[in-house]
Symmetry: C2
Subunit: 291 residues, 2 copies
């Protein structure tokens, strides 16, 4: 695990610096929108998706990092937009995120909607600029992961099924679309930038989908076993009303499922060599993480 | 003008058919989201942006239409998303559009936000698929036009300046970003698909920006001189509170400005031959259109 911590300790500041540079500056018009975009992106976060993108890039053979770092930032912009929109009153209605006010609480609902919209456009602008000739492969990857059978579709199912009876089949679909699709996209994106072949890309996509599900189950386990105080969540919709594995099949069974998915992830990349070290460590890190 | 009417009469059904095919079907999961996406896109509309894209394509030399028709549909998806988000309660709070309920009134606010988000992703997915090797040029065009110094930036300024003193310099900026940026993008996009050079692309972009401003001024003139009945607008924010040329400089001066911009548009494409006929006719059509 020390190797992974070292990897993240070097990568995270590099990503933070690049995100800050790729975002429009707050003294450029429209200032409020730009300030709010920076607030939404630069307010912390684990930068897990960039880490998975870079770890997959290395696993697939590596090479010149410049393009893939910007592609990782593009995915992080996309992810940041989904958080801003998910927090809105018409969605999860969260007042706090990462110990700060959510974007709509800090800047108002209209600006928060626009922040998400502009971050999605910035994600595609950044990705296309980073991709050059590869844009015809990278842009569809991100667009599909972000679309109506990706993060947005998962959020739609999540929203519609709130308060309904817990349904493991539905939860599988929600977790895959809402969380795992974008994480699998990170892994395939890293492979494209390393010039990896379709076989490698498919294996890395399987790995990404499995660790994405692990990530979501562990997130739900944390919320289920250590619910946040009401003050930290504002008027947030009850976690219990959401479709989650811990609520549907119980804490132990959810933990078992996460462990099986972790094994699936490592199995998918079994033929990769030592270059896949960080992916293997990340898989375990995601399974074992605590609040 | 008969030539233009014939052009639009042939093009519009072709675009409608292609939009219907490119959209996810309503019997695919998540069904409600897909039904709402189709509602938002297929509920009429002039399909002006596809017309400008195709007219610019012809003006720049034309060629195989397949790619450019899909690119025009991509821009229409992008445009449709901005309408869905602009109508939201936190924005313009409109209940009706094109004589039907707005998307959030028909499907709820959460789904409407997600419809916009998914349509933006679909726009980039469609554009990249249509572009092939040209994706590295087409995707940044659309992303910039859609971003924080394009349609989203214009909407942010519009939102922030509501109720403030009318300011012609601010109105110029709002109109350029909110409306003209995407229309100029249509014109440059058509040029890219025709294989036109940078000089042609720049002239077509100037044309597009000018007719985009004409379009917005005439829209504001229609609202100003023939305000819609309150019943048609729901709880919509007052048009008078918005920054517009008719409110700022008066109806006659706004009409004069639109006429000057129309002349600018035609001047920008003065060196184009008869292939630019539809662009010239469209410029006049946009100046003279009635409710």
């Amino acid at each position: 695990m020390d190797r992974l911590i070292q990897f993240l300790r070097e990568l995270t500041p590099e990503i933070e610096k690049r995100l800050a540079k790729l975002l429009p500056f707050a003294d450029q018009r429209p200032e409020t929108l730009h300030e709010a975009m920076r607030y939404a992106v630069l307010g912390g976060g684990k930068r897990l998706r960039p880490a998975l993108t870079l770890a997959s890039f290395l696993a697939a053979g590596g090479g010149n990092r410049a393009g893939v770092v910007d592609a990782a930032c593009a995915i992080e912009f996309l992810h940041a937009y989904t958080l801003v929109h998910d927090d809105l009153p018409a969605m999860d209605n969260d007042a706090m995120r990462r110990n700060r006010l959510t974007t709509h609480k800090a800047f108002g609902e209209g600006i928060a909607i626009l922040v998400g919209d502009a971050l999605q456009a910035l994600a595609f602008e950044t990705l296309a600029a980073a991709s050059g000739d590869k844009a015809s492969r990278t842009v569809p990857e991100l667009a599909k992961a972000a679309g109506s059978q990706g993060t947005v579709g998962g959020q739609a199912l999540d929203l519609e099924s709130e308060g309904g009876e817990q349904d493991p089949e539905l939860i599988e679909r929600i977790d895959k679309w809402k969380t795992a699709a974008l994480i699998a996209c990170c892994c395939r994106m890293g492979c494209i930038f390393a010039g990896g072949d379709d076989e490698k890309s498919a294996r890395l996509g399987e790995y990404g989908e499995a660790v994405g599900v692990v990530y979501q189950i562990c997130d739900d386990l944390l919320d289920f076993t250590e619910p946040k105080p009401a003050s930290a969540k504002g008027a947030s919709k009850s976690e219990a009303a959401k479709q989650t594995y811990p609520a549907a099949i119980g804490v132990e069974a959810a933990r078992d499922l996460a462990a099986r998915k972790n094994a699936e992830a490592k199995h998918a990349i079994r033929d990769f060599g030592r270059e896949a070290l960080y992916l293997r460590l990340l898989a375990d890190y995601l399974l074992e993480r605590k609040a």
